[in-house]
Subunit: 335 residues, 2 copies
């Protein structure tokens, strides 16, 4: 891929950048092998006699990814951990082990703030038995948290690329709450109704679905492809299908949504589907299985929903209660 | 350590934070062992049947660690890589393998800038056969580059803690140039003399000393402790000695300095020593060896200088041409 010099970076986007890096990446790894390369949820490497390690990294910056007037230091720390655990969960078989935290604090940051932040970071890490293994603390105008998390793969990692025609698209939980919560926060509204508070909480305190990944791994559910929905459900489906010249039909009425989102959207289906498809930072698992594994999965994890199927069309199409619909939805963009 | 809530974070500092994190860190790593914990140049882990991996992470932020009016995108990328390779070099026996890059770009960033940045990043990685393995690209007000680098240890990693009484303190190169270069840039001076240009280049384009580390490793030089001088020579000596209740005598006149620094300092010894001891971001190796290994090292690496010795005093003292001196020098602080 050639990146034209006149363009703004925004015209290329994150995925364009990954392609640019991937091309001509150094291959001088004779004694090591890359099991899963850049561009998936984690990078996985191993040496001949080694375990396989999954690595993921994420960075969040004040006023871009969070606001200190919305989030407590505890919520910022928790979200930073969960976001990375979510990528490890996407491997299907990985256990998080070591976390590296680079934090940029402003000169005005109080010890109390930093203490609350690191206590919450530890608490979130303890929940997953993660060891805080290193980091860097620097001055910054805006609070900046960059985390790298290393996990160990207990089996073959599940990549984004394995979906096959007629595979079923599954999701681990509800969609749209986080996006709606973000819009509520962004509206500046001060006094929130009960359902609005719940949506805001979903945005500020997401939870990775490592539990779901483990349960499927322990029960030998054969997952053909998987990612997490950090950039929204639609983007996740694209990552598993159209990125590999596959297509999908999404059954809009099968996407699980909360009562709170319905109430917030005043039962306007277009609004509900908009949040469910495009709302970012949900951190649910989006994955595919062969049709023959559906009943087994349903038994083990009744909370999993089946929201679509894979085809060879190269496009994402929508169906609402069996009827094709032509609505156009856009994914979340980083730039 | 208890962090009092009223204090500003700056009163605790980076090393106080590391202590805070280290305390009560999760120990739930049954199948894995930590070979070198948080607080050293790298974190090193291994499983029973595994290779040992060294991991380091660093974050640099525009207007804090660099300015785009001073540094080209190529220089920013190169420095970000070299800083991390320098930590891997500090392990004495580690080869860098996998790099994870999180980059925050402003909305105004052009594709040309990003292209130059990532091309230079690749070029720097190629120099060390490093594979760019993952990352995250996000929006940011200020250009932010967070790198995590994983290396493999070819033998036991050298920690900061092994210096013994009467060990000799060694350095891999010149000191003070980077600090002087920074001051020249900061002065806003537009037309630079030849020696000033060279000092500025040393600040903007540092080089990690992986070559020196390798040569010592290949020649079985027994290094008792090592770190890199990212926070200045004085801080490095403290990290190897007073942090472990050891002390040191530094022979000021033995610290190697460049002709350019002498010229810039107008041969004022106090100024030269100030830059040599406190100038940060030099990325030379500072290490200790047993006195009996001095001749062997001198033969293999004539460029290495012997600038002091370790004692049990718990303090850092200075000697200038054999005469004790009481000058007080302060290290570089992140906050």
């Amino acid at each position: 891929m050639v990146i034209s010099s006149e363009k703004l970076l925004s015209s290329i986007g994150e995925f364009g950048l990954i392609k640019f890096i991937k091309k001509n990446n150094t291959k001088a790894l004779k004694e090591h092998s890359v099991k899963l390369d850049i561009g998936d949820d984690c990078f996985v490497f191993a040496s001949a006699k080694d375990n396989r390690y999954a690595v993921t990294t994420d960075i969040i910056i004040e006023d871009i990814h969070f606001k200190t007037k919305w989030s407590s230091p505890e919520q910022i720390a928790k979200k930073a951990v969960e976001v990375n655990v979510s990528d490890i969960a996407s491997m299907g078989c990985a256990k998080p082990l070591y976390m590296f935290v680079s934090a940029g604090f402003s000169e005005k940051t109080t010890a109390a703030f930093a203490k609350k932040f690191f206590r919450a970071l530890k608490k979130s890490c303890d929940k997953y038995s993660i060891h805080i293994s290193g980091g860097d603390t620097v001055k910054a105008d805006k609070l900046t948290v960059s985390i790298t998390l290393i996990g160990i793969c207990l089996s073959d990692p599940v990549s984004r690329s394995g979906a096959k025609e007629s595979d079923i698209i599954c999701v681990s939980g509800l969609f749209g709450d986080s996006g709606a919560g973000f819009d509520i926060l962004n509206s500046g509204k001060r006094i929130l109704k009960q359902h609005e508070k719940k949506l805001v909480k979903k945005h500020l305190e997401p939870e990775a679905r490592l539990d779901i990944a483990y349960k499927m791994f322990q029960n030998n559910i054969k997952i053909t492809s998987m990612t997490d929905s950090s950039d929204g459900l639609l983007k996740s489906v694209e990552l598993l299908t159209s990125d590999y010249k596959k297509g999908a039909v999404i059954y809009l009425d099968k996407i699980p949504v909360s009562n709170e989102l319905s109430e917030f959207s005043k039962k306007d289906k277009r609004k509900i589907y908009h949040y469910a498809l495009n709302g970012a930072e949900e951190f649910e698992l989006v994955f595919t299985i062969a049709a023959c594994d559906k009943i087994k999965l349903q038994k083990i994890l009744p909370s999993v929903s089946f929201i679509g199927s894979v085809d060879n069309s190269g496009k994402i199409k929508y169906c609402d209660k069996g009827i094709k619909t032509e609505i156009k939805y856009d994914g979340f963009k980083h730039f």
